[in-house]
Each structure stands twice: as structure tokens, then as C-alpha cells.
Symmetry: C2
Subunit: 417 residues, 2 copies
């Protein structure tokens, strides 16, 4: 029996079948995805959950506007960081009461790294990979410079990290999913290796949380941090989160010790005394507007088993890879083929990648470009359909085949890429 | 000629005259102050500027909802921290381009202190006062513990700070206005003393910015930080700001070194290289919802000379003190009498202060309580009238004279005070 040629039409038919059987299809209605856009960039900024506007309006007009300062008690703003954190716990396999939402991912990494280093006082090396997201490397560089005393950051090639874990490693600090290639580190295996060597492991879940099954408890992560504005859909610059394993939560000494992490913030005493558990990782007054937006956004995950999310991520990305490879001969996949070895994103090496991406965006297909030559596409299981994925490939194939990217305007670099 | 007895009626008449002549009276219309409330707690959480809701709705529904990731360029979210910062510069007498809005006040203090200590590498003492807001002391404690190597925090009684500045002082770290007493430190004099001793000065303007005339340039502050949710009215947990004097801005090495403080954040290089000037004090992705709210809120200051704000603050607080002292014989003023020596707040020592404040709040007069026995009232020049001030005193006098606070429910402590 001859195999039918893999035309875009055949992918379209396959997509329709997959969408019809998609148990998450109903979640799309919870999001505002603007007409005429094929949004493959939810890994940079998640789309707007429809519940956010009403919630933020309520917070501004009623909670702040009418209740003013009493809102801290009346609406329990003070515990929002824990309440929103508890919604994230389920998504990343964290034990109850181990996550708070606070500050930015970068700041939370500083908290986690500084706390972890203190728990391994005899060692001086933070081990990472040089494909880690730059801010993670920058934060580690700032910390080791601040500490002096021989502290260093070793950033290896990603594939060499495992072998580099050794007697000098204080903390293994990795982002689970590589922001460019989409390659997923094996959290459980690398953490076990770190522990066996007497080191701790700090995991950045920026591209993991909300995208597939994460299990920090089973993976024995010591600390984890993550981002609120990617797959969690909390909006631009949404607050981030931080996890501390229960075995350390009452033991860590916060370097960023602020009043919201104090055991009794409203006693206004002059000496810092850390709160119980992960609460001590809070620092200043929580950003209530951003917290409320993220809180509302997380309701889109209510009642979902993360295995469904992972399965849909695998299905969307597999379809995308197959359709691109069938129709875009000049692109080269840089993401692992096996779904379990990647995040919910697919990257291709593309000549003139920047211009290609601008031409795509101009035609409503939104992904992004990562220097020097990567075009990157994110697949958010909650609001993306297989049909959209194939429609995006159709545009991509045309842009490439007809060299539609070859216009001067598509080579003009934007401030933010 | 006999002096008329200072009755509440006479104060009411005086208030009406003052309001009729108030050049800022028109600003009240820019705020939503709920009916039936006399809001004397703008120094904890500023009231809602009416422009905020429309701006936040635009950001959520249009900028995020429709423009998605492209909002970073299309709406220049990326430079909001500097644009909002520039509005604050005028309010605190800072040179153009010296302030960014970012993170929380506590985090910004950590940035300022760690940067300042590096500029005075031969010294080990952070000098503060023990009436400083606790989070400032906690942050300093966390930093010196992190640094080790003999770094210490010396927290003196406020009146002893000036004499304690000496050869060992690396950084003088003070909050200009005491959160309990309202006493204002002399920024210019203490900074000059610090400089003469070879130390630097870091000022916390949490209770200053937006309340009276602040001039960090003339006062030669080396670093300053401040709060977005008090007199700047940015909403609960609004982002904070940080100022670095131009003479140091290109020289400081950020301890919290994140990608948004990098010279080329979208080059995604692996080594941190600080951006020019105060931009290097940015760390992670800016919280756009909170930034936009603060940005809109700051428009309430447009076209106002801060000397008008200071004059009205003096007028409101003087009237309040006079009326309270005439009608509430049991209260003792703990704030300096001279307007130039205090912030825009008045505190009285009150027996059963907690219950008194609860009884006031129950009757629509919102101030707050600071342990052990301080009732505190804030006076926001932009939206408060003299008539409201006298009306609040009327309620206070009744609560005290008739012992209306003496009910069990007013003794129940709330989580947040």
C-alpha cells in the first residue's frame, strides 16, 4: 500500500480529527485569542484569560477604590502570595504550602541560589549550562561577585553538565527547558546525581510550569523558581514563584530578608526573624494587581490533569514538526524529536531567521526569533488547536517558498526580540 | 480682646476658608474617595486615581489581549520603568534619567545598600536608626549576614545618628520620615556629615515622595529609594523606585544583576554587562499592570509645583493638631510641631490606641495604629480637604469623650495593622 504524500491538506484533515478528540478543546473559550492571529508565542507571553479583566476591575474599583487600606484584611491581600502559590503547587507537583508567588524570576533565583549556597557552606561552585537563559547566568554572576571568597559560576555546554557534577559542586542550577532549543533536562536524574555528589539542585521552571507534567517533589528538587507570564498566562511581567523543598523550608536563611518574610511583620520589631516555611522567601509588599491577574489566570487550569496538558503538547508539537518537515525543506529541527525530551516548543534553524519571523508576524503567525538563526514556536495546550498549528505551517511554507521574507522592512531590528 | 474659645465650630469655619483658597482643591476630582469615609491613611495606601481603571483596562484588553507579545515594542512596555521613573524625578528633585521604577522598596534598598558598600570598600558599617521602618533594618541585616567579613548594621536612637557618623561608617541608611512619629530627618545636613566622614548616604523616601518638597540632587543623596503605593497612589503593592546619583550611576556594580539591567538584554549573551546609568538597577521583567497603574496615577501631579503640595500638607496638619489639642485633652502629640521637621502625617500617643483606631474606622475615619500606643493620621494634599480634617477630629473627640472605643470588638486584633 503506497503512503499518501504528506500534503498540507492531509495535515489539515489530521488536525481536524485531533481537535475533535481533544479533551482540552473547551478551554479555548476561557481565553481571548484575537481574530486573525495564530499565536505560537505563549512561551514568551501567555494569551489573556477572559477572567482576568473582571477580577482586576473588582480589585481596582471595589477592593482598592472603596475599601482602601482595609483591603489587606477584608480581601486578605496579605495572603495572596500563598493562595496563588497553592494553585501553582498542583501544576508542578509541589507539596502543599511550599510555593509563594513573589517578585520576578530573576530575583527569586537570587533568593534560591543564595539560600542553597548557605546550606552547602564548604563548597564554592555554582554549576550551570551555557544555554541557560541569560538572566539566570547574570544573577549567578552577580551573586558570586557579591560573595567573593572564591565563589564561582561554572557554565558548561548542556550535554557536559552531568559529568561536571563533582565534589566541588555546591549547587546545580539549571533551567529545565532550554529557551532556544526546547531541549528538556532530566530533572530527576540530574538532581539525583547532584545529591549523590553532596550538592543541591535549583531548577528554573520558566518554560515548564503549565506546559507539561512537572513533579518537583518526585524529582527531589531542593529549590525551584518559575515565571507567571508564560504558560501560566498571568500577563506581562506577572509575578514569579519560588518553591523550597519542605526539608529545607524552616532552615533556609533568606539573603533578601524583608518584612513580608518576617515571622510577625506587624509587630514592627527591629530584628529579622524568619517566618515559618516558604513564607520567609517573601520580601516586600506583594503587587496586588499582578497577583490578582495571575490568580484569575490560573483558574483556567482548574480540574485539568497535567497529563492531559502534556499529551496535548506532544500532539501539537509532533504535528507541527511533521507538517514543517513535509513542506519546508530548508528548515532544520533543533529541538529533540521525542516529546518527553523537550518542552512545549519547537525551534528550527533558519537562514535569515529574523526576517522570516518578521514576515510571519506580518501575516498573523506569531512566534519569535532567537539569535543567531533560530525561529521558535511555542504551543500552549490550553488554547491552541491542531488546526491552527497546520494553518501556521501553511503560512510558514509560503513565506519560505515564495521568499516573502526578502523585504528590507523585515530586516529592521526591533528593540525587543 | 478675648480669644474666642477654640470650638469645633470655629475650626469648621476656618477649614471652609482654607478650602476656598486651596489651589489644589481641584485635584480632588481626580480621585475616587468613597462617600462616608474620611481617609487619613494615604500614607499607607493612597486612594484610587480615577485615571487608573481606564489605563489598566487598555493595557489588559488591548495591549496584552490583542497585541500579545508585540506589546513590548508596540507599546514600549520595555521602557515603562524609565518613563514612569521620569515622572517621579520631578517630584523628588532628581536629575533627568536617574530613576527607574522596579521591584519593591525592600528589594531596591538591597540594591542600593549593596552597591553603596562596594563604593566604600574599606569600611564595614551600615549606620541607621532604630526607628527606621523595620523592613529597612531587616534588609540591611540580611545583607550584612550574606556578606560576612565583619559587615555590621549599627542602629542608633534617631537623635544619636548624627553624632555616630564616623570613620567606620560606610553607608548612612535612613528613612527621611519616621513611619511612627512623622519626624523628618534633615537629609541635606546628615548627608553632608556622612560625606565629610567619607561615607555615602542612602535615603528611603517612602513617606516623602509626593508629600512635600524632596530634593535629592540638592541634598546630595547618593542613592534613594521609595514606594509607589503611598503618596504616589499607585495601588496596593505598586512597584517602587530607585535613584542613583549621576556621579555613581555608571560606576555601580549591581548585586542583583538581571537581564533587564544588561547593556543588551536581547543579545542574549552569557556574560553580564551593565547597562548605562540607573537602568542597570533593573533586574527582571517589569510588572506591566502595576507599572501602568502607577504611571496613570502619577498624572495627578501634572502641573503641580511641589511647594504647593508642601504648603497644603503644612496647612492640613497644623489645622489637625490645633483641632485635636483643643478637643481631645487626653492625646499627646508625638510628631514635631514645626511642619518642616515632619512628614505629612500626625501621630498622637493614645491609651487604648488600638481600640480607639478601630472605633474610628468603624465610624468612617480611617487612620492606623502603630504599636505600642500610637494613632497615626496621614494627610494627602492632593485629595484631602481641611473640612474633612475637622470632621475627622469631631469624630475622634466624640470617640474619646464618650469612650466609644470601649467595646470588646474593638480590641480584636486584625492580621494586618
Amino acid at each position: 500500500m503506497a503512503t499518501a504524500p504528506a500534503t498540507i491538506e492531509s495535515f489539515r484533515a489530521r488536525a481536524a480529527e485531533l481537535d475533535a478528540a481533544d479533551p482540552l478543546a473547551g478551554r479555548r473559550a476561557l481565553f481571548h485569542v484575537p481574530a486573525g492571529r495564530l499565536y505560537l508565542d505563549g512561551n514568551s507571553l501567555g494569551a489573556l484569560p477572559r477572567s482576568v479583566m473582571a477580577r482586576v476591575r473588582e480589585v481596582i474599583e471595589h477592593e482598592w477604590g472603596n475599601d482602601l487600606i482595609t483591603g489587606w484584611n477584608t480581601h486578605d491581600w496579605i495572603d495572596l502570595p500563598a493562595r496563588v502559590g497553592s494553585k501553582i503547587e498542583r501544576l508542578v507537583g509541589a507539596e502543599p504550602g511550599t510555593i509563594v508567588v513573589a517578585d520576578s524570576t530573576s530575583i527569586n533565583l537570587f533568593k534560591a541560589l543564595s539560600a542553597a549556597l548557605r546550606l552547602v557552606p564548604s563548597r564554592r561552585v555554582i554549576l550551570s549550562d551555557n544555554g541557560n537563559f541569560p538572566t539566570d547566568l547574570y544573577v549567578a554572576q552577580g551573586l558570586v561577585r557579591l560573595l567573593g571568597g572564591g565563589y564561582t559560576l561554572k557554565a558548561m555546554a548542556p550535554d557536559d553538565v552531568e559529568d561536571a557534577i563533582g565534589d566541588d559542586t555546591a549547587v546545580l542550577c539549571l533551567t529545565e527547558v532550554d529557551y532556544r532549543s526546547g531541549r528538556r533536562h532530566d530533572m530527576k536524574q540530574l538532581t539525583a546525581k547532584a545529591h549523590a555528589a553532596g550538592a543541591l539542585a535549583v531548577w528554573d521552571l520558566a518554560h515548564s510550569a503549565g506546559a507539561f507534567v512537572v513533579d518537583v517533589a518526585d524529582g527531589r528538587a531542593d529549590f525551584a523558581i518559575g515565571c507567571g507570564y508564560k504558560y501560566l498566562n498571568g500577563g506581562p511581567g506577572a509575578p514569579a514563584f519560588i518553591y523550597v523543598a519542605p526539608r529545607f523550608a524552616d532552615q533556609v536563611e533568606p539573603a533578601l530578608s524583608g518584612w513580608m518574610g518576617h515571622a510577625a511583620p506587624f509587630a514592627f520589631t527591629t530584628d529579622y526573624r524568619p517566618a515559618q516555611g516558604v513564607t520567609r522567601m517573601r520580601v516586600g509588599t506583594p503587587p496586588i494587581l499582578g497577583m490578582a491577574a495571575l490568580d484569575a489566570a490560573l483558574d483556567a487550569f482548574e480540574g485539568i490533569d497535567m497529563r492531559q496538558v502534556a499529551a496535548k503538547s506532544a500532539s501539537l508539537t509532533e504535528l507541527f514538526v511533521a507538517a514543517v518537515e513535509a513542506t519546508c525543506p530548508d528548515l532544520r529541527l533543533t529541538t529533540p524529536r521525542e516529546p518527553g525530551r523537550r518542552g512545549s516548543q519547537i525551534s528550527f534553524k533558519a537562514e535569515n531567521g529574523y526576517a522570516v519571523m518578521q514576515a510571519l508576524i506580518d501575516r498573523g503567525v506569531i512566534g519569535d526569533f532567537r539569535a543567531p538563526d533560530i525561529i521558535r514556536f511555542g504551543f500552549t495546550p490550553l488554547y491552541l488547536s491542531h488546526t491552527e498549528v497546520v494553518a501556521a505551517v501553511d503560512v510558514l511554507a509560503k513565506v519560505l517558498a515564495e521568499r516573502l521574507w526578502d523585504e528590507p522592512k523585515y530586516h529592521v531590528r526591533a528593540k525587543v526580540t
